[in-house]
């Protein structure tokens, strides 16, 4: 199918983008989730505001990471900065679609599209990421955009020395949406365990800090999801992620 007609506006800056948005418009970033929906006419905005030309950078300053919303997923994947300092993001982004969709798809698009199967959100949550919005607001945790608000950047704090992380996913076929995934970050005095679509597993994190085995902690993470097979997947993936991150 072909999309319904729409009006197209290029935004050169975040201010322009905010100004161009009205009640019946959509933001076009990488388009890898939006355009399939438009091609099926499941989404039919009257106006499309293209922000993909607004520069987005991967930056490190005083140890902290800042990723512009329009940074392509492929840029995350190949970034030496990220591979060195936040390898979890690199592991996670390799599960997002395929090389050609990662070359266009943006990290901001993934976060704001908010598909419960979005691997990047899972990894960002484990990394305690903070979302910077066009309104100047910064959000920690689940992102809810207000009217006329846009996600402009994501800030990820520096990891402690000797931090280890792992991202483990199960999908039916290579590159398809994951049925389950788990992101784990272990630092000397912090443990983070995020479950795809379900957020942080606080009890599992506490158990890890208290010295529980990977298997026991994993069982607690599984409590975040419904369905016995889904629970089994989350438990097993959490256990593997913990082991991969060095927790026995």
């Amino acid at each position: 199918m072909k999309p319904a007609p729409f009006e197209y506006v290029v935004a050169g800056s975040w201010d322009e983008a905010v100004a161009a948005l009205d009640g019946d418009s959509r933001v076009l970033a990488g388009g890898q989730s939006l355009v399939p929906l438009m091609n099926q006419r499941l989404v039919r905005p009257r106006r499309l505001v293209d922000i993909s030309g607004i520069p987005g950078l991967i930056e490190r300053r005083r140890g902290a990471l800042r990723i512009g919303a329009t940074v392509r997923q492929a840029a995350l994947e190949r970034s030496t900065l990220i591979a060195g300092g936040w390898p979890l993001l690199r592991q996670a982004v390799r599960h997002v679609g395929h090389p050609a969709t990662r070359a266009r798809g943006t990290i901001g698009g993934s976060v704001v599209h908010a598909d419960p199967r979005a691997e990047l959100i899972c990894a960002l949550i484990a990394l305690d990421a903070r979302f910077t919005l066009s309104s100047g607001r910064a959000v920690h945790g689940p992102l809810q955009l207000g009217p006329g608000e846009l996600l402009t950047a994501i800030e990820v704090p520096r990891l402690q020395p000797f931090a280890k992380s792992a991202f483990v996913a199960y999908a039916r076929t290579s590159g398809s949406f994951a049925d389950a995934a788990v992101a784990v970050v272990l630092e000397p005095d912090r443990a983070a365990d995020a479950v795809l679509g379900a957020g942080r597993a606080g009890e599992a994190e506490a158990a890890v800090r208290a010295g529980a085995s990977a298997t026991d902690a994993a069982a607690l993470a599984a409590d975040l999801v419904d369905g016995d097979h889904h629970r089994a997947l989350v438990a097993e993936l959490t256990r593997r992620a913990l082991v991969e991150a060095g927790h026995a």
């Binding site: 729409f6 197209y8 959509r26 355009v35 399939p36």
Partner: protein, 173 residues
């Protein structure tokens, strides 16, 4: 709600019976200029014209194939400013001033020869997308392992070959 904040629609819903919006946007065209396979091309496009349709029907470059229009099959993969991209998930209007390479502009090389040698194509419908994906992949990863090749190829569906000859062609090119 405007912007990116909307809840994604139910992906399981069949794509029909969608009631048209009360009033669709007016249909306008815009002039774009784009370099395709080294040649500067100019055209009038509607915003909704997909890059895949633009290449195939406006420019007559039919080597790029369309298999799904949801970005799932990879048949329409081209290189946009040197990076692999799904032509069915890009609007032609977005590539104004860009540099595009399609299968017609990909010089014949060892990869083509290996595809021929190893019988890595049958109907040939997915082949352009395969080659465009692999060319981009091999630029930065010229000596991949078998698993890396499979991972790089997993976004390009083929129903004929069973992939094994394609993987072999890449490894033994």
């Amino acid at each position: 709600m405007s912007g990116w904040g909307d809840t994604p629609p139910d992906l399981d819903r069949p794509g029909f019976g969608t009631p048209p919006a009360s009033a669709d946007a007016p249909r306008t065209t815009t002039r774009i200029s784009v370099r395709v396979n080294g040649t500067q091309r100019h055209a009038e496009v509607e915003p909704r014209t997909l890059l895949s349709d633009f290449l195939r029907h406006d420019l007559g470059l039919t080597g790029t194939k369309v298999g799904c229009e949801t970005g799932s099959c990879g048949a329409c993969t081209v290189q946009l400013d040197g990076e692999p991209a799904r032509a069915c998930l890009t609007f032609a209007i977005q590539v104004h001033e860009a540099d595009i390479t399609t299968i017609e502009g990909l010089p014949h090389g060892p990869l083509h020869a290996a595809f021929h040698e190893h019988h890595a194509l049958q109907c040939g419908f997915c082949t352009a997308g395969m080659l465009m994906t692999l060319d981009a992949f091999l630029k930065t990863n010229p000596e991949p392992t078998e698993d890396e090749v499979k991972h790089a190829l997993s976004g390009n569906l083929c129903r004929c070959t069973g992939y094994a000859p394609i993987v072999k062609a890449v490894l033994e090119r």
